[in-house]
């Protein structure tokens, strides 16, 4: 079976299952009121979720991207990502990170050295 984004059943199944799942998660503790106390340990583990999953989106999309800049071994997106990581640590600005990142990639791909 192949999944196509243009397939309505596929798209709406994703939307409604994600609605049901996400709303259940968001509503769960509110509905149970304070009958359940979440332990500090659980909170600690949950706080690692972004660190565990978001890099797994970022890294392969850049690493396996069909490179355009030969002098960087086709890994120009990796180079830009590492650069903007430091930029973000310095500026803490989402807007600056996205704008500088896109501009840097544009310059690298349009004017390869």
């Amino acid at each position: 079976m192949t999944y196509q984004l243009s397939d309505n059943t596929y798209f709406w199944s994703v939307v409604f299952l994600m609605l049901a799942g996400t709303l259940s998660i968001r509503f769960s503790m509110i509905a149970l009121s304070s009958k359940i106390v979440i332990s500090e340990r659980t909170k600690e583990i949950f706080s690692f979720i972004p660190a565990a999953i978001l890099p797994a989106f970022i890294a392969p999309s850049a690493f396996f991207h069909q490179g355009q800049v030969l002098s960087l071994g086709g890994k120009e997106r990796m180079v830009v990502l590492i650069f903007v990581t430091f930029l973000f640590l310095w500026t803490r600005s989402t807007l600056a990170t996205i704008c500088v990142g896109l501009s840097a990639l544009y310059l690298l791909t349009q004017f390869p050295f």
Binding site: T22, I30, A31, P50, I53, F57, F88
Partner: protein, 230 residues
Amino acid sequence: MQVLKSPFFIKGFRQMVPITTGVIPFGAVMGTVFFNAKISFVKAMTMNVLVYAGASQLAAVELMDKHAALIVVVLTGLVINLRFLLYSAGLAVELQGASWGTKLLCAHTLTDQSYAVMLAHHDEFKKKSDAIEFYLGTAVCMLLVWHASVVAGYVFGNFAPASWNLDFAVPLSFLALVIPTLKNKTYWLVALFSTVVSILCYSMPFKTGLITTALLSIALAIFLTRKKEV
């Protein structure tokens, strides 16, 4: 509609305005991704209103675009949204005794941003209802900015040339989301581990590399933060 005139609602709304400047580029990226994936405007906005969880939507659209299996798309999205469980617990005390309608509304509008603002002003309220009105102010502000920026991104994606590589804005915005959560070396180590493992697991069948990476990384986090027996 009485709540819209409440001073607490207005205060919450105002507190949220500067924070939403960080949401605008993220929403714009979401809109562009919807457009580039050739999802119609109506479908895109319906998903946006119903699911209302940016990071998981971006992940889901990206996976659907790569023909990932339904279960993989949904599970990946829900793992990203598991953090809302904590926020839900955080709001539970304030919402004790509120109507089910209010509870449901507050639950659906829970976001990283409005929860963070709520947490920061937590001690300022004498009554639970004041706290809820404040929270709703933050939530409504967030809702308006998010949907407006997704619409703007969708329209803009329409005429941006391919050479601008707008798809690259997705990893960039994820980067801006993840870095603030890396509070110490352990978090950085888990993030680095996730980076390497995700590249190694990339070619796993049915796009399961992502969820595998997430589970392995959480296992590493549990191991690294275990309490040492004396």
